[in-house]
Symmetry: C2
Subunit: 335 residues, 2 copies
């Protein structure tokens, strides 16, 4: 093992702090700073903000300009690409490779083709690599289905479904799924895109691009799942008639035919959480992940495990389709 890679943790919400804690377990990675605009965090030690003694006592600063030299940024400061584009510009201008949990960045050409082209140009110029990934989007509903076609002589369609028990997840995710809202409130916030998981359409696009399918478009809908009777979770309660979660669907189609269909159901108290992938092809495949990939624990892992593969890829804006198969690697010491 050579010198450890110097890592900046950019964004210190729950996922960012957890990512810092995971990085701290890897001898090949060395946290050198945290970045967060929150005045309650900037100026503190990353160890204090991430609430773990295993995290090194390095500064949290308010902007990348104040951070020490580094090799890599792990970016967990937003889903929407237009809102984080300036942050990514500074990361790339500093020549850092960057893995971001931004859902839209998993396939940025779908909603923001101009920003995507610009970031690709900046990254290429700087000799840096930029990747959006996570467990969803980034793995369960896109990379995994794509790899599942490797034994197929022919593929006619891809269907995948993720069913999450919202009751076991962090409060932010419950709110995003509309938990506890009246149908009217849910409808209004869904229309404003203030609730709902971001990234299902991006996963559709990634699969279609991988399999060589040009789509006419991607249809999307989202509906509330309403409680028959009151449902309580550690973070709150939904009364009868209120939403216990949501069901989202995205369908990539061509010539009126659905080629890629993805469903995400996030409902408190769901009986059998799971991930399911069906490949309609020759041979056909049906693959089930019992209980589903645990999202909160897995997103930092997807990011950190992708880093090695990303650094083998050419500079530029990359996607999961460009990566040497990402996987866990045991720390060189320990285990």
């Amino acid at each position: 093992m050579g010198e450890p890679l110097r890592v900046i943790q950019f964004g210190l919400g729950p996922i960012g702090c957890d990512t810092a804690r995971l990085v701290a377990t890897r001898p090949e990675l060395q946290l050198v700073a945290g970045v967060d605009v929150d005045p309650d965090k900037a100026g503190c030690s990353l160890r204090a903000v991430a609430q773990s003694d295993a995290v090194p006592d390095v500064p949290v600063v308010a902007s990348l300009a104040e951070a020490p030299a580094a090799d890599v940024a792990l970016h967990t400061a937003g889903s929407r690409l237009d809102a984080i584009a300036d942050q990514l510009r500074t990361v790339l201008a500093a020549g850092l490779d960057c893995v971001s949990s931004s859902e839209e960045l998993c396939w940025p050409w779908y909603r923001h083709p101009e920003i995507a082209a610009e970031l690709d140009h900046l990254a290429t110029e700087a000799g840096a690599r930029l990747l959006g990934t996570g467990v969803n989007p980034g793995y369960v509903l896109d990379l995994l289905p794509v790899l599942l076609t490797a034994p197929c002589r022919e593929v006619r369609g891809v269907y995948a479904r993720r069913v999450v028990d919202l009751g076991t997840r962090r409060p932010q995710l419950q709110a995003k799924a509309g938990f506890g809202m009246t149908p009217e409130e849910f409808e209004r916030l869904a229309t404003e895109q203030a609730i709902g998981h971001v990234g299902l359409e991006e996963s559709v696009c990634l699969i279609a691009a991988g399999l060589g399918w040009e789509l006419d478009g991607v249809d999307f809908d989202m509906e509330a799942v309403l409680a028959d009777e009151a449902v309580a979770t550690p973070h709150g309660q939904a009364d009868a008639g209120q939403a216990v979660g949501s069901r989202q669907r995205a369908c990539g189609h061509r010539g009126g035919e659905g080629l890629v269909e993805l469903e995400l159901e996030m409902v408190a108290g769901v009986a059998e959480p799971h991930d399911l992938v069906r490949i309609a092809g020759h041979p056909p495949l049906t693959v089930q992940v019992e209980g589903g990939v645990a999202g909160d624990a897995a997103t930092p892992a997807c990011m950190v495990n992708a880093l090695r593969s990303l650094r083998l890829a050419p500079p530029g804006l990359r996607t999961a389709l460009d990566l040497v198969v990402p996987h866990f690697v045991a720390p060189a010491t320990g285990d």
Copy 2:
């Protein structure tokens, strides 16, 4: 799409002929010749040998020296690396990229480190790439489990099992699994390594190498599964007390602890064929492929689909761990 890649189908047994038929469906690939030492095949048209009008009317020759110029060889002429090393030497000397179904080539350092080093050197010198792959080894019990660790923060062990209904498979595979043999015959041929699936230990090594685990060794055993009553298949019958198939296990261990455990059960009339992968880690994962990946249809697909990824890799002897995620890509024309 540029010019199609010129492909030589090297080896025209059942898998080789089926691979030729699959290649013929891909506009980005162009069959230019078949190679087979069998005097019943050399001198014929590949179309006749592969028994498909979709296959082009190109010659089958007895050796690569007689074949026209090409870019790629798909090699399906043997499992054991020492037996096919000369063929691979000529392929690499001709500067061809090569995907082989040789099971031992999936992790050649396990049984043949010297041949592996030599082939790696030859390939690198020639600017060519060499890969062993297939559905097993090459995918279900190695590449798939490796990718399934991508969402894991920690992995303590990998367990995978493939259960195949031998009754639905080609007669060669039934014979390899000992179908219809007495226990004594089975024992003798197993000891001589004349029966049994090749590649389980190679899959263990590939997983361990990917996950960064140095093994003390790989244990292997194979046993007959005996019929309680007579079992008939389209290709033959096993009487009560004779073998209806076999069960093989390989376990990669370190410090007395099993880190990678693989099982392959090939038994005629098995109730629920399936593939199963369990990752002991955080988060843990249990993934099941309903019915299992259909082996005979999938091996040519694994080879052909790996070609694109292989050609993105640097020259040399490569494994699944070096590949950009392999997957199906729809032909540029058609669908």
